[in-house]
Symmetry: C2
Amino acid sequence: MTQDKVISFSSIKIDCKSCNLTTLCLPLGLESAEIGRLEEIIKRSRPLHRGDQLFHAEQGFHSLYVIKTGSVKTFLPEPDGGEQVLGFHLPGEVIGMDGIESERYHCSAKVLETSAVCEVPFDRLEALTHDIPSLQHQLYRLMSKEIGQETDMLALLGSKSAEERLAAFVLGLSERFKRRGFSATDFHLSMSRHDIGSYLGLAVETISRLFSRFQEEGLLKVERKHLQLTNLAGLQAMAKGCGLEPRRQKHGG
Amino acid sequence: MTQDKVISFSSIKIDCKSCNLTTLCLPLGLESAEIGRLEEIIKRSRPLHRGDQLFHAEQGFHSLYVIKTGSVKTFLPEPDGGEQVLGFHLPGEVIGMDGIESERYHCSAKVLETSAVCEVPFDRLEALTHDIPSLQHQLYRLMSKEIGQETDMLALLGSKSAEERLAAFVLGLSERFKRRGFSATDFHLSMSRHDIGSYLGLAVETISRLFSRFQEEGLLKVERKHLQLTNLAGLQAMAKGCGLEPRRQKHGG
DNA sequence: CGTACTATTGAGCGCTCTCAAAACCAGTGG
DNA sequence: CCACTGGTTTTGAGAGCGCTCAATAGTACG
């Protein structure tokens, strides 16, 4: 029960010990009575499995979802049945905030591996943020952070080469795993090469070729879904476009 | 004074008659006393001119800014002095929300033409949203909308060809001018070709060439900064990638 | 052990890039 | 008024990155 409290509390707070997520946010400083109220509105879900869909684009919006364990991808469905991947989400992260404006989800969300996810009905959360100013502030911060992250992604897609994008991608994952207390150099890719390609605006084949090249260059080792980063500094240099030989173009040249 | 009230009210409401912006949002339904309180916190600014900077990336965050007239671009400064353009902002739009999370602006904002901009200190706005639930809801919606728009841009950059991007861009501008009560087919581009290219992830030369080609194809007429859309349906088809001849790639192949 | 899906690798091409230069425009000062 | 200067836009030529197509290998599942 105490354990449950911690989980519920931290699900919103995004500062969740049970999710190994201790540094993302400032403490909320809620009173225990307030924690209880927050707990009340959170629906715990049974385990979800690979391919399960949390919500669909255009579907009526009611709740935010907090990833507790596992991973989730968000994407924009395309008319031809394809998926434009928008992001990969790890424990402690919140999705669904794009649905508030129109009261319909803007994107779809699909579970990448067996995962646990909390549902937080937004109308009740909104009412609670009205009663608890620090929670209100936290929600503003959360949405602001989302905007900033998408902004960074726009810059990546707008001006980086394929190798810069992939290097930045694996380093981003590394950083996020590290914050969660997992290894920063050794982790599992729950998404397919296809999803990575879609996310980075590249073809599947390009992802595969780059992984092979990075491995040849000793930057990392990749075996199917397992990734081991063997030269973080080299990857960082590559992500910044400061590769050994000066290159300065996205593609073409 | 009544006129001023309308402006202040609508600056936050994003439903501003004086900005020709009547359809963007639902009414807030504020009491006149509440309107007064909102008015109090808004700082009106003197006119700004082309090149004036509203805020810089990494600078301490204190306020949101609402464009009243003119236009503003937001961008991420690059180490080499370049600018990765993130968006162009028209009257009624709010910028600076990316600064809430870290209490530093995430991007920079520069005025594109003579403009009027309201400053809204965020701490005071936040306090006010606590007192006025409908205002709180409106701010959530505003941030949610921003997330959705950036999402759409990610999809554009991730999977569209150059011609699809430019067609979508001019149509997006057209739509936004239309909502503001201006002509949807005849308007002024306050940003340079360079800015458009950066925004769309394309080279300046590509923008210029595409404008020329679109003109040859009778889709639009362009003369320096003046744009006239002569075939909206054709542009829409092009933006969707349903051009006359089937094409299905971003670049290459 | 067959079927379907995912990943890898190769061959070839074209979209969009870079480089380069000319045309055009705006502002300044003589 | 015009030459000068700096910036923006246009246009051309050529090249390369990342694409598509295609085929092979590896993996998952029944």
